[in-house]
């Protein structure tokens, strides 16, 4: 190792940051130190609201509107970014410090072609000419294993898939060969099989150009693959920093340990369903289409009382469409949905109130699923009144009981608005609203995917408890296999609108698998820092992720 590589690239000391809300400044980051050497990758982890993105942007000398750095210093390669003029900073940004955002689809300008956006940095900074930079872009696309590298740059962002866009963005960040790249949750929005490809591509290219990076994520297993060092943040404070292997093997702080322990939640296995039992919901040979585009092909599975069936698959595999068929929102083209052995009318408008009551839904985005103008009491009271016909005091008693069931104090929450609750609490209200109808069967559509791991675990435990108490049946739609492991009794794997494999959880997590199930399982990052390296060695780059899906 030469002297140059041991140079310190980023030095942040005692950085305090504040955010503006309601005319006052409140602290976001309370004095964090950060040191990054050339060519090194630092993982920054924490829950949402921990200030990881804010800190990552501060390392670029950038703050979003309504945020300021109130104290401390930020130095990049000896340049004081807080004292530097706007022009000096502009000269560094894009050229020596680059940024890869969480949602590539939102962060590429929809009005310009990818390659035009790629060459903009080098041309504006005077690093390369347009043609040279375009040529270089095509080479980078090739290095990042994008399909048709010499064509893809001439497309508009909306014409390219999410995983490919994320790699295009990484290529764009590389366009000036920066010394530092900030990766802000670059794979959070992607499916597991897509994520693994992007991870491999990012790691490879950062290695090749010896670029230093700050990798921001909430996913420990991901950061374990990418980072040399990990820094854990909690509500604007640093919890601990250590190199990756030490951190994974022996975390010292309680909070870090609790993060590690989230994945240990697993429910006991239930006895096998008797073969003559009538399923609560039976999906039988369902075909469905949006307009003339077929979406589901011959989907069949059973859901038994008191059981959880996890439906897994990537986005676009037909999981949510199946749910829409069961609820009657999308009448199937053929096949039928049965409730307790009775065929349900295909269209929800033709179902009786009692049939409607039995099938309830909890949504992914609690934010948008709750009416922002209604109080918590009104939200839960509505189905109580509609389905059970309760009024006045009785109604209030029922709502209070429901709030207690979801572990929220009724007197405290009854009059609040959804905007006054945290994400996890909102999701609990969603659960209470579903329970208010006293259903047999609840569809949980990605209910934990928008939540932090600790909060998500709380929701999963609550759902498990309610199931045991009320003998509920869940259909659990998810793409997160860790969630499946935690809560499911049976698993249905879907791909391209078909069920490719189904069975009890135990069997699903044990080989032999259907090749697609195998791919899904193998794509879930593990806490072992050598996991990605081993997997790549074992299978080769062409046999992981979407590339492997395409081969099927």
């Amino acid at each position: 190792m030469t002297d140059e590589t041991s140079d310190i690239l980023v030095k942040m000391r005692g950085v305090k940051m504040e955010g503006r809300s309601d005319e006052t400044w409140s602290p976001i980051i309370n004095g964090v130190d950060l040191t990054l050497k050339r060519g090194e990758v630092l993982g920054l982890i924490g829950e949402s609201g921990a200030g990881k993105s804010t800190l990552g942007l501060a390392a670029m000398g950038y703050t979003r509107d309504g945020v300021r750095i109130s104290e401390g210093t930020v130095e990049f390669d000896g340049i004081d970014l807080l004292k530097a003029s706007a022009a000096t900073k502009r000269d560094l940004l894009g050229k020596r410090i680059a940024y890869v955002a969480q949602s590539a689809a939102a962060s590429f300008n929809p009005a310009h072609k990818l390659l035009d956006q790629h060459v903009e940095g080098p041309v504006q900074h005077g690093v390369m000419g347009r043609n040279e930079s375009a040529q270089d872009g095509i080479e980078l696309y090739e290095k990042l294993r994008l399909p048709n590298p010499d064509q893809i740059g001439f497309r508009y962002p909306h014409q390219v898939s999410g995983g490919q866009l994320q790699r295009c963005m990484t290529a764009m960040a590389m366009s000036c060969r920066p010394d530092l790249i900030i990766f802000d949750e670059p794979t959070t929005a992607l499916d597991v099989t897509t994520q693994i490809e992007v991870l491999a591509a990012i790691r490879d290219i950062v290695d090749q150009f010896n670029t230093a990076a700050i990798y921001i994520t909430h996913d420990l297993a991901v950061v374990a693959q990418m980072a040399d060092q990990i820094k854990v943040l909690l509500k604007g404070d640093e919890v601990e920093t250590a190199d990756t292997r030490t951190m994974l093997a022996a975390p010292t702080q309680e909070y870090t340990k609790s993060l590690w322990a989230v994945r240990s939640f697993e429910r006991p296995t239930k006895p096998v369903v008797q073969s003559d039992a009538v399923p609560v919901i039976r999906v039988e040979n369902v075909d469905a289409a949006y307009g003339t585009v077929p979406v589901l092909h011959d989907v069949s599975f059973d859901l038994h009382q008191g059981r959880t069936v996890a439906v897994v698959g990537e986005s676009g595999s037909g999981k949510s469409t199946t749910a829409r068929c069961i609820t009657g929102l999308l009448p199937p083209k053929s096949g039928q949905i049965m409730l307790d052995g009775q065929t349900l009318p295909a269209d929800y408008k033709k179902r009786t109130k009692d049939q409607l009551r039995q099938v309830q839904m909890i949504y992914q985005m609690a934010d948008t699923a709750l009416n922002p103008r209604m109080s918590i009491g009104q939200i839960i009271a509505r189905p109580v009144e509609f389905y059970l016909g309760l009024k006045g005091k009785e109604k209030r008693r029922r709502v209070d009981a429901l709030l207690e069931q979801i572990e929220l104090e009724p007197t405290q929450y009854y009059h609040r608005l959804p905007s006054e609750l945290s994400g996890g609490q909102k999701q609990r209200i969603g659960i209470a609203r579903a329970l208010a109808a006293e259903p047999k069967f609840i569809i949980c559509d990605e209910v934990t995917s928008a939540l932090d791991q600790l909060v998500a675990e709380g929701i999963l435990r609550l759902l498990a408890r309610l199931q045991d108490e009320l003998q509920l049946t869940y259909m659990f739609i998810t793409h997160d296999l860790a969630t499946v492991r935690a809560i499911a009794d049976e698993v249905v794997v879907m791909k391209d609108g078909r069920v490719v494999e189904q069975g009890p959880k135990k069997e699903m997590f044990k080989p032999p698998h259907h090749p697609y199930t195998d791919l899904l399982l193998s794509s879930v990052p593990e806490m072992d820092p050598d996991w990605l390296t081993n997997l790549l060695n074992e299978r080769g780059v062409d046999n992981i992720g979407d590339a492997a899906v395409d081969k099927m």
Binding site: R64, D91, L93, G94, P110, A111, H112, E120, Y156, H158
Partner: protein, 330 residues
């Protein structure tokens, strides 16, 4: 492109339908005006016989529906009818100069109005967009506020007031432009331009605020989007961020406001025409209403409606084309 073409055809068909409905509304509304040409031309001393005879000559004694379909049939064949006033004048003098058709009467006036509208648009549209971009770039600064105050005060003042102020400063105190815009056939382009400069400037003041503020708002609306943050983090200059990254995505609302204002320039400039004695279609329209010269009134209304529909159609199509998702489907 197939889908864009289909949308355009759909809009065109809808536009035609709208025009048909508008023609009915115009016809009925105009015929609801109290009094008719016969009464207004004969004045106080009108005998019932004379009124009836003029009505018979002009076909005013026919039922409304018959007259509507006669008129519509004529319009569809490009015949807007015969101006009552001109026909009356022609029979009175015994000459038939061929200028009695509504089309012949309206055509030069309409050309003048279009000329003024185009001159105004050529000044006002770039001016407002540039002003809007600058206001967005220097938002919440003195420049931004001054721009807002200036454009808002000019839109809030009556048009004739603005016109007289401009005449005072640009024609009387500093004689740069002529205060009368009496243009006529055979003038050179340069002369026409010079003559119509003051009305054009007045109209510019009237329409700028709307377009400038929409440009500013549409751009600022986008400044919080992730791709703008990305552009900033690429180290681009603030001007480039706005012009290259925000403006192309803000075009749809701006185009719509421009279309509305252009439509106003064609249809709503009577006051300015009167102040500058500009021989445009607005004056003709008002005069024709006064003497109940119904064919001219109807034709003017129809032209105004067509202008509105066509401009809105163009705006729709351009908004669609400004969206790359529709221009380049997956």
């Amino acid at each position: 492109m197939g889908s864009v073409l289909r949308i355009i055809l759909q809009r065109l068909a809808l536009g035609l339908l709208t025009l048909l409905i508008v023609s009915i509304v115009i016809f009925v509304a105009v015929n609801l005006l109290p009094g008719d040409f016969a009464e207004s031309i004969l004045g106080q001393g009108a005998t019932p016989e004379a009124v009836a005879s003029i009505r018979r000559d002009l076909g005013l004694d026919q039922p409304l529906i018959t007259r509507y379909f006669d008129w519509l049939g004529g319009v569809l064949q490009g015949d807007l009818g015969t101006s009552f006033a001109q026909a009356n004048f022609a029979t009175f003098t015994g000459t038939d100069s061929g200028a009695t058709t509504v089309a012949a009467q309206i055509a030069p006036r309409f050309a003048n109005t279009m000329f003024l509208a185009m001159v105004t648009a050529a000044i006002a549209v770039p001016f407002s967009i540039i002003l809007g971009v600058l206001a967005a770039l220097y938002r919440n600064t003195v420049f931004d506020r001054a721009t807002n105050i200036f454009t808002l005060s000019s839109i809030s003042s009556p048009e004739f007031f603005l016109a007289y102020i401009l005449i005072l400063f640009l024609a009387v105190l500093n004689p740069i432009f002529p205060s009368l815009s009496n243009i006529f056939e055979g003038m050179s382009f340069g002369e026409r331009l010079e003559k119509s400069m003051l009305p054009a400037l007045t109209l510019t003041l009237v329409v700028t605020a709307h377009m400038m503020r929409m440009t500013r708002a549409a751009i600022i609306n986008l400044l919080a989007s992730p791709y703008i943050e990305m552009a900033r983090l690429k180290g681009l200059s603030p001007m480039r961020v706005i012009v290259k990254h925000a403006l192309p995505n803000a075009l749809a609302p701006i185009i719509n406001v421009i279309a509305l204002n252009l439509a106003y320039l064609i249809t709503g400039v009577v006051v300015v025409e009167v102040v500058f004695v500009y021989p445009g279609i607005g004056q003709l329209f008002v005069d024709s209403v006064k003497i109940r010269d119904i064919p001219v009134v109807q034709a003017c209304c129809l032209i105004f409606a067509t202008a509105f529909i066509l401009l809105n159609l163009t705006a729709d199509i351009m908004s669609i084309l400004s969206n790359p998702r529709l221009r380049h489907p997956k």
